[in-house]
């Protein structure tokens, strides 16, 4: 593909857990270019040591999220033209996660919190049982369906100021996952989940700032799920849930 006549001035954060700084690269501007295209171009044409993470390139795997001009985004589906400031674009690793190297963050704390929030399915049947029938119009199924398309990209986690201020806070994604299981009639440990999400660092720490819903690339609303958890844990506390 022919390069456009313009060149992008791209600042890329370079460093590791001990610190780092922005490094400037000149990248040819192309039509329909994504931020991930820019990062790949830098790594393939200028500096092979640039570290970053991606897999599917089509917005399904959730591995390529980075901070673009200060906002968390899925870089494979973010067109350069939509985020450009003049000719400049700034690319950094996601906030609120430890940096491994350059643009690659350590996702372990993020997924550890999914487990802490009991965000794992607790089966009640075996493969020998009949498949449970769940009506798609059942109210609880509707609630779960609205939250179930999470791709684990950690964009909500990076956008959340409560996560930034309280490293113990489970974060929007883990709580959103817990909410889908609370509403899953096939899950056998509803009360354990409600217990897990009402501990210190749980759903009641959310300040309803709404950045999770604002930036979720799949247009989910973790703030809605967390509000649901607040309601259900409150009902459970008063013995009505």
């Amino acid at each position: 593909m022919a390069f456009g006549s313009n060149t992008l001035d791209v600042s890329v954060w370079r460093g590791d857990a001990d610190g780092g700084k922005f490094e400037s690269f000149q990248v040819p501007s192309q039509e329909s270019q994504t931020i991930l295209d820019v990062v790949v171009w830098i790594q393939q044409k200028i500096d092979p040591s640039l570290a970053y993470r991606y897999a599917c390139r089509v917005g399904m795997c959730g591995s390529c999220a980075m901070s673009v001009n200060g906002q968390p985004r899925w870089t494979c589906r973010t067109h350069v033209q939509k985020v450009l400031r003049g000719r400049r674009v700034e690319i950094a690793p996601l906030r609120n996660l430890p940096v491994i190297k350059d643009l690659a963050t350590d996702m372990d704390p993020f997924f550890e919190k999914w487990v802490r929030a009991e965000g794992v399915f607790h089966p009640t049947l075996t493969r020998n049982d009949e498949i449970a029938r769940v009506s798609p119009v059942d109210q609880r199924r509707v609630e779960a369906d609205a939250a179930v398309e999470c791709i684990n990209c950690a964009i909500c986690y990076a956008s959340c100021d409560t996560v930034q201020g309280n490293p113990d806070y489970l974060g929007p994604a883990a709580l959103n996952r817990a909410w889908t299981l609370v509403n899953d009639v096939k899950d056998g440990k509803r009360s354990s989940i409600l217990e897990a999400v009402s501990q210190e660092g749980g759903c009641h720490n959310c300040h309803s700032q709404g950045s999770c819903a604002k930036f979720c690339p799949n247009e989910l609303s973790p703030i809605t799920s967390i509000a649901g958890l607040k309601r259900e844990t409150t009902k459970s506390f008063f013995g009505r849930g």
Partner: protein, 113 residues
């Protein structure tokens, strides 16, 4: 300067709620002190009330009532979202709570002048 990930209505509603709460907490001790003057030093209270008739103080009162209104309705908004069946239209409600606060503060100002 505001960080880019914070530039959306719900975050602004959050910070407005926090700052108005903080400002009201700072105001309350002064408020109670002035009220206590009614018992301890009525003459000082009369002097203060006379001073409080100045236009600049009236404008400050407008700000105070605005803070109270914005905090009150911001709190109602949060409780509605978290404890009632949740509406997706948070932005609209956030904006409406601010607008309603303005309405109350403005009507207070009009009455005062």
């Amino acid at each position: 300067m505001m960080r880019p990930h914070r530039s959306h209505p719900l975050w602004l509603a959050y910070i407005l709620h926090r700052l108005s709460g903080l400002a009201l907490a700072i105001f309350l001790p002064a408020h109670f002190y002035v009220l206590s003057l009614a018992l301890t030093a009525p003459n000082d209270l009369d002097g203060f009330l006379h001073w409080a008739d100045k236009p600049l103080v009236k404008v400050a009162e407008f700000g105070l009532v605005f803070l109270l209104a914005v905090h009150f309705f911001g709190g109602l908004r949060l409780m509605a979202f978290e404890l009632l069946a949740w509406s997706k239209d948070q932005k609209t409600l956030a904006a409406a709570s601010v607008a309603f606060s303005f309405l109350i503060a403005a009507s207070f100002l009009l009455r005062a002048i």
